[in-house]
């Protein structure tokens, strides 16, 4: 009963907020609806018993990715008239993408009604006595270790690539060397001089 109420709550909220992402006029509002959709999707995953994935979804997507979205969107100065001007031009492409997605959905529904694929239970049978994290960890670090490490290496390459592409050496920047500042003692920083009358001090 409680699960059912929770399921309908999360499911309706996911679909409603996903629709609002598209319908909202203001792009910042769109991002906020997107965040709500992520959040409710995490709720659905909790109901499915995948608490670890749900938490990761919130930490990674809501906590980091969506913040970057919001950052970029907040800085944009969007001209709505210009946006609407492109509507007819992009309509064929948009319609094509929509048709492909709809077709895939239909295929998925038919495939599912034809009979469940017990792929999940064959590769990694869920056992009730172990927690989610342990099960994922045991699979990830044994059977899928190469894929896991490959994913890590790809991310590393992407990160280095992004840094190399965007980093530029700017000349004439005076950076602060904190270690040197802390090392500095009053003996080397100050100098006592006693200049004679009419003589200056050389710095």
């Amino acid at each position: 009963m409680i699960q059912l109420i929770a399921f309908w709550l999360f499911a309706v909220m996911v679909i409603a907020s996903a629709a609002m992402v598209i319908f909202a006029r203001n792009p910042v509002h769109s991002v906020m609806w997107l965040i709500l959709a992520f959040f409710n999707a995490a709720g659905l995953m909790l109901l499915a018993g995948a608490e670890f994935i749900a938490m990761l979804l919130v930490i990674v997507y809501v906590g980091a990715v969506a913040v970057l979205f919001l950052f970029v969107v907040m800085m944009l100065n969007i001209d709505f008239a210009e946006l609407r001007a492109g509507f007819v031009r992009y309509l064929p492409l948009g319609a094509l993408v929509a048709i492909i997605l709809a077709a895939e959905l239909v295929v998925a529904v038919f495939a599912w009604s034809a009979g469940q694929i017990d792929l999940a239970s064959r590769v990694a049978p869920m056992t009730a006595d172990k927690s989610n994290i342990q099960q994922i960890g045991e699979l990830l670090y044994t059977r899928y270790i190469f894929l896991f490490e490959a994913a890590g290496i790809i991310l590393l390459v992407a990160m280095i690539g992004a840094i190399v592409l965007t980093h530029r050496q700017r000349g004439g920047v005076r950076t602060q060397n904190i270690a040197a500042q802390v090392r500095r003692r009053s003996e080397e920083a100050t100098r006592l001089v006693d200049p004679g009358v009419g003589q200056g001090v050389e710095l």
């Binding site: 009963m1 938490m55 809501v62 913040v67 919001l70 950052f71 907040m74």
Partner: protein, 349 residues
């Protein structure tokens, strides 16, 4: 508690619902009271360190000062700037406040005294605290004003940066405890130091993490010396500049609830949570309820927070980023290697 309501003759669903609501109220209401008193304590400690008296007019020793302030802001008018984005402007403080309360759901007050005893308690706290940044960004953006916007950008960059190092520090603790559940983490600390001391903090491998976590907690809650989001000299009051009345009070309450949460996390992760400090029953340690120990530890950490606020000058923004990315992140990464290596040698070999 569900069993109690079932014994009153309710069905399981109703009993569960009523028990959960009672649990939420049992945490949220005392928390609000604690926040009011901790604001008073903060001002008193700050005043004492500056050789002032602090609040001393309302009630005995000024104890009711926070309530007077609360009443004052409650009676004020809520002003919404004309260029503000109305909906988001009003939602932002609510998000901040709600998120600050949400994380308390997994904090154990005694053995078994948790609202939600979930497997992924620590991840839940990370997830919820990563939501806190939205209240700040939204308030800054929707105010349609320069200072709040700058403050929001600063705050979000700061919180995301320090969440990274906090995440790595937490992994160190989780490796030692072998669980994400906060109660299991506390139980893992029982007799951790030579069977005598109930704390991870006395472990030489974990002590540096405890120090880094304390500093990161200061940065994560934007307390002094990392309170660049509301640096008065540069940004008036940061993201709260345009807020008044209850919407301002919600920010205020949320901020202090977050500070208390970070103090509680310090106590739970490194200093034994609701366990007494020593595992020896010479004096009747264990007769004192765990909640007293936890509150004492939380207050000790809050005193450190106030102490730092009263004594340390504010960081510059680039120094803050340097500390987070160039010092804490590498050290916490190396520490994960060290800890997992040590555990492989001693525990899992």
């Amino acid at each position: 508690m569900t069993d109690f309501f079932i014994s009153l003759g309710m069905s399981y669903e109703w009993a569960w619902g009523v028990a959960t609501i009672c649990g939420i109220l049992l945490i949220a209401l005392p928390l609000m009271l604690a926040v009011a008193m901790i604001i008073y304590a903060d001002r008193k400690i700050w005043a004492a360190m500056a050789l002032r008296r602090g609040p001393n007019v309302v009630g005995p020793f000024g104890l009711l000062q926070s309530f007077a302030d609360g009443l004052k802001v409650f009676l004020q008018e809520t002003i919404i700037p004309s260029g503000a984005n109305r909906g988001l402007f009003l939602i932002a403080p609510i998000i901040t406040f709600t998120v600050a309360l949400l994380a308390w759901a997994v904090i154990p007050f005694n053995s078994g005294a948790v609202l939600a005893d979930i497997n992924v308690g620590l991840l839940y706290i990370l997830a919820i605290s990563s939501l806190g940044v939205y209240g700040v960004i939204l308030s800054g953006w929707s105010s349609n004003s320069k200072y709040p916007f700058f403050s929001a950008l600063r705050a979000s960059a700061q919180m995301i940066s320090y969440e990274v190092s906090i995440g790595f520090i937490l992994i160190g603790v989780v490796l030692y405890a072998g669980s994400f559940n906060l109660n299991a983490i506390i139980e893992a600390q029982r007799g951790h130091g030579f069977g005598i001391v109930n704390a991870f903090g006395f472990n030489l491998l974990l002590f540096p993490l405890a120090v880094m976590f304390l500093i990161s907690a200061l940065a994560e809650t934007a307390r002094a010396p990392f309170d660049l989001t509301e640096a008065e000299s540069e940004l008036v009051a940061g993201y709260q500049t345009e807020y008044s009345s209850m919407s301002f009070a919600l920010f205020w309450l949320g901020e202090y609830a977050n500070v208390l949460l970070m103090c509680a996390l310090n106590a739970i992760l490194f200093w034994g949570g609701w366990l007494p400090p020593l595992n020896i029953d010479l004096i009747p340690w264990f007769d004192i309820p765990g909640i007293v120990w936890l509150f004492a530890k939380i207050f000790a950490f809050f005193f450190i927070f106030s102490w730092v606020k009263a004594t340390v000058p504010r960081y510059r923004y680039d120094q803050l980023m340097r500390l987070g990315w160039k010092i804490f992140l590498p050290i916490s990464l190396i520490w994960i290697f060290l800890i997992s290596g040590w555990l492989m040698l001693t525990r899992y070999s």
